[in-house]
């Protein structure tokens, strides 16, 4: 495997005395789908938010595409080719589906903002091209009829798809998916799995996937990283990792113990 | 040195009056997240109610105080319906606009009914004075700091040791969680507004023996109160108390050793600095900005 697209080492994050992430690290290779799993409160979401730059790490290094991005804010990381979805759906609620996609494409638009404000022809043509691309992608995600619809008028499942399309339209090198299957019906989960695989296969997007649904993880991931209490307790192919007694202990053992205490 | 002590005492008196107005505002702001620009009008109406009760109807002091409290509670009840319940599910800034509208309406209602001329409450106390070493204060002024201490102390105790007080504090922390814990949000909101209005009304009544009351008096009062609330950290009565005294003393010292013209400017500069560099307030613990 060539150099990883993303490599994270020795990350520490504390919240008011509680250590959420304690020296964990992970990497995602080019074209790889890496799962990040762990029981509730294991630090997955914190990790993801530090990878994408929403939250600064207390220590640790983040390298993206060979470049140190530790000090960069979220928007600079996005401009380097990192897209993300959110655990709690996040869309620009008052805008149309198409405009939501358009905004994610702003970063790769070549014409200056001022040309756009002045309504210069090159800027208009560029925007038209992006709109065409957005419609094409929406078709890909079965959302074509809703392009002009306000995004909040769509169902939760459709909104999830908009989030994915929003990530894809930016042509990212890495797409960080934070629990994309949450709240989806089983048939939709199947569709999601197929879509994510196509995203990697057709667009060559590497994927870091945080997921609770083990079926999604098993079907999609080349490799899985398991976090528990902020440290990495296992790493490897999904089949191997799910058999690992340490992982089983972390998930089931503690869960069982917790239930017994209650 | 003697002079410095006198300046300090003046600052404490003025600061105490700021505290009295600001504690109610900080409750409404901190617990319900309502920015209440009509708070100065609560003060103004408290002053008018007190003067009318004691001068026009010749009621004794405790009865006048009861009238002020009753009028203030009614106001609080109405204001809660408009500014809190009426604005559920709206963004934070709606309360600013609505309460500004309420302030304009109340000011002009008073202007139309009571006339524009300033009013003053006359008491026998005005002719007595208190001397503490080099410090000399007329009685109505000297009474403000102890009254402030009693009121803020009682409020603090109530917040700490009564069920309602704990509900209020729980609401300030997290409304949904408080609701789940059995706090009746609606009731707490009404109580907060009535309490805030009464504190402001009583302050207006007490102050009307020292300063004058006129329909527009609330404008400056509310700005000063907001300065105090922000410096003190919102939702913190003790913070407001400390910040109010601080502002009073700083203004007094500015007036004494710099120039009186800068008195009002200092407070606003302080607010901008505090919000930029220590948004939780000088005396507040860190707050989550969501």
């Amino acid at each position: 495997m060539s150099d990883p697209i993303l490599s994270v080492e020795g990350v520490v994050k504390r919240f008011a005395g509680v250590t959420a992430v304690d020296g964990a690290g992970l990497s995602v290779g080019a074209g790889e789908i890496v799962g990040l799993i762990g029981p509730n409160g294991s630090g997955k979401s914190t990790m993801v938010n530090m990878v994408t730059g929403e939250m600064p790490a207390d220590s640790g290094t983040f390298r993206f595409d060979g470049r140190d991005i530790t000090a960069l804010p979220a928007w600079r990381r996005a401009r380097l080719g990192m897209a993300r979805s959110f655990q709690m759906l996040r869309l620009f609620g008052s805008l149309s589906v198409e405009d939501n996609l358009l905004l994610a494409r702003h970063i790769s638009m070549k014409r200056s903002m001022w040309e756009s404000v002045l309504g210069a022809r090159p800027a208009r043509e560029e925007e038209e091209a992006v709109r065409a691309r957005a419609r094409e992608l929406l078709g890909w995600f079965d959302l074509a009829p809703f392009a002009d619809r306000k995004v909040t008028a769509l169902s939760i499942g459709q909104q999830r798809m908009v989030e994915l399309a929003r990530g894809v339209i930016a042509d990212p090198r890495l797409f960080v998916l934070d629990e994309p299957a949450a709240g989806l019906s089983p048939p939709n989960v199947d569709r999601l799995i197929a879509l994510i695989r196509r995203m990697r296969d057709e667009f060559g997007i590497s994927i870091l996937l945080v997921e609770h649904d083990m079926r999604v993880v098993r079907d999609l991931c080349d490799r899985v990283v398991v976090l528990d209490s902020g440290t990495k307790i296992a790493e490897g192919p999904p089949a191997a990792v799910t058999q690992d007694p340490v992982v089983v202990e972390a998930y089931i053992g503690r869960g069982w113990k917790r239930r017994a205490q209650a | 040195m003697d002079l410095f002590l006198q300046y300090l005492a003046n600052g404490v008196v003025v600061g105490s009056s700021y505290v009295l107005v600001a504690v109610g505002l900080t409750l409404i702001f901190g617990i319900l997240h309502v920015v209440n620009f009509a708070h100065g009008e609560f003060y103004m109406l408290g002053g008018y109610a007190g003067i009318t009760a004691s001068t026009a109807f010749g009621l004794p002091l405790p009865a006048s105080l009861a009238v002020v409290a009753a009028v203030s509670c009614l106001l609080g009840l109405g204001a809660e319906a408009l500014l809190h319940r009426g604005l559920k599910n709206q963004d934070q800034t709606s309360s600013i606009i609505a309460s500004f509208g309420l302030a304009v309406a109340l000011q002009n209602a008073v202007m139309v009914t009571m006339g524009p001329q300033p009013e003053l409450m006359h008491t026998e106390l005005a002719y007595k004075a208190i001397e503490l070493g080099p410090v000399f204060l007329p009685a109505p002024r000297a009474l403000i700091p102890p009254a402030m201490l009693i009121i803020v102390g009682a409020l603090f105790a109530a917040l700490r040791w009564t069920w309602t007080g704990r509900s209020l504090r729980a609401m300030a922390q997290h409304e949904t969680v408080a609701r789940l814990c059995g706090v009746k949000v609606r009731r707490v909101a009404v109580i907060t507004f009535m309490l805030g209005a009464t504190l402001a009304g009583v302050a207006g009544f007490m102050m009307s023996a020292v300063y004058m009351v006129h329909p527009l008096v609330g404008n400056m009062i509310v700005l000063k109160a907001f300065i105090v609330v922000i410096i003190g950290g919102m939702g913190s009565p003790l913070g407001a108390a400390a910040a109010g005294l601080l502002l009073g003393v700083i203004e007094s010292m500015t007036s004494a050793y710099l120039t009186n013209g800068l008195r009002d400017v200092v407070g606003f500069l302080l607010v901008i600095a505090v919000l930029l560099f220590r948004p939780q307030g000088l005396f507040g613990r860190s707050l989550e900005r969501s």
């Binding site: 401009r79 996040r90 620009f92 702003h106 404000v117 | -």
Partner: protein, 332 residues
């Protein structure tokens, strides 16, 4: 909305162009003031309505524009056409300065900082005597003769001439606002308003978006301020108290913040309506206060926002609950 907005704009344009031929000086004066407020409210709407950054300092910027004109006229001897760009630039820079706190503060904290700034600007205008002339303010020459390279173009003497200048300026500013909000920049402003975290996550420079919104917003007020200073032939601090800021906020809110036409119609309505109170003039402010409370409680999205919302829910009903049905689920 765009089509409706264009039609409304066209009707307004016809009305405003016809006005000087139909109306007397008083009515024309009212409409000219309305045009000034249109510029102020449309400008405020850029920062507040589109970008979600609340400001109670529009009156201060209005004043800074006016005082820039006054100070330049006094110290440099420039006329309206030089003062106008200067006023816009200077006020824009002040807008940039106000934008800085907005990078750290949100919601009512930001609102309170803008109130503090508004009050400080007023106190500054009153107390910095040597620069601002204190309470007396400054005299500003009328626009007068306009020349280009020594060639006399036209002369602004009467109210009618002034009205035309105001109308052209308002039209230009409204057009600029239209371009801004329908450009990539405007879309990014809305993105910041809707969800700042998400805006950052898709790579938008939210700092840039917020600062440009504040600069644009202030620059509009600066332009209106310069025109007002030359029209009134003077500036005094009392004309730029927080009261004016609140008035502009009210116009924007009543019309509908974040809609394009709302603030325009709000500014026109709230300038004209008080002129019609007649016998009720004594209760004018009382009515205004009550109106504001009612408007915010009953229709917080403003008149146009309300209409838009009604249309959306009607469309939704007409399209037969389409959003609730997920075609992928049907096909699965």
């Amino acid at each position: 909305m765009t089509r409706a907005a264009l039609i409304t704009l066209a009707i307004l344009a016809v009305g405003f162009v016809a006005a000087p031929f139909l109306l007397g000086g008083y009515e024309l004066n009212v409409l000219m003031v309305a045009l000034l407020y249109v510029i102020l409210a449309v400008g405020l709407n850029l920062a507040t309505g589109y970008c979600g950054q609340f400001s109670f300092a529009q009156g201060a910027f209005y004043g800074i524009g006016g005082y820039t004109a006054g100070i330049l006229s006094r110290d440099v001897g420039t006329g309206f056409w030089m003062n106008l760009p200067a006023g816009i630039v200077v006020t824009g820079l002040f807008g940039l300065a106000l934008g800085l706190p907005a990078l750290r503060l949100k919601g009512h904290f930001l609102a309170i900082v803008t109130i503090a700034v508004q009050t400080l600007v007023y106190l500054g205008l009153v107390q910095w005597n040597s620069l601002t002339g204190g309470q007396n303010g400054l005299a500003v020459p009328p626009i007068g003769e306009t020349t280009l390279f020594g060639v006399r173009l036209f002369e602004v003497t009467s109210l009618r001439d002034l009205y035309w200048v105001a109308l052209v300026m308002a039209a230009v500013f409204v057009f600029i606002a239209w371009r801004l909000v329908h450009s990539r920049l405007g879309r990014e402003w809305v993105a910041v308003r809707e969800d700042e975290t998400l805006a950052g996550a898709v790579g938008l420079n939210t700092t840039f978006a917020k600062l440009t919104a504040f600069v644009a917003s202030a620059a509009f007020a600066g332009g209106a301020g310069v025109l007002n200073a030359h029209a009134m032939q003077g500036v005094t601090p009392d004309d730029f108290q927080i009261w004016i800021s609140c008035m502009v906020v009210a116009m924007m809110v009543v019309g509908g913040r974040g809609t394009f036409m709302g603030p325009i119609l709000g500014a026109i309505a709230l300038t004209i309506l008080p002129e019609l109170t007649g016998e009720l003039a004594r209760y004018k402010m009382l009515i205004f206060g009550v109106l504001l409370v009612v408007c915010v409680t009953v229709a917080p999205e403003g008149a146009l926002g309300r209409i838009r919302k009604a249309r959306e829910s009607r469309d939704q009903a007409a399209s037969g609950r389409a959003p609730a049905k997920d075609p992928s689920e049907a096909s699965a």
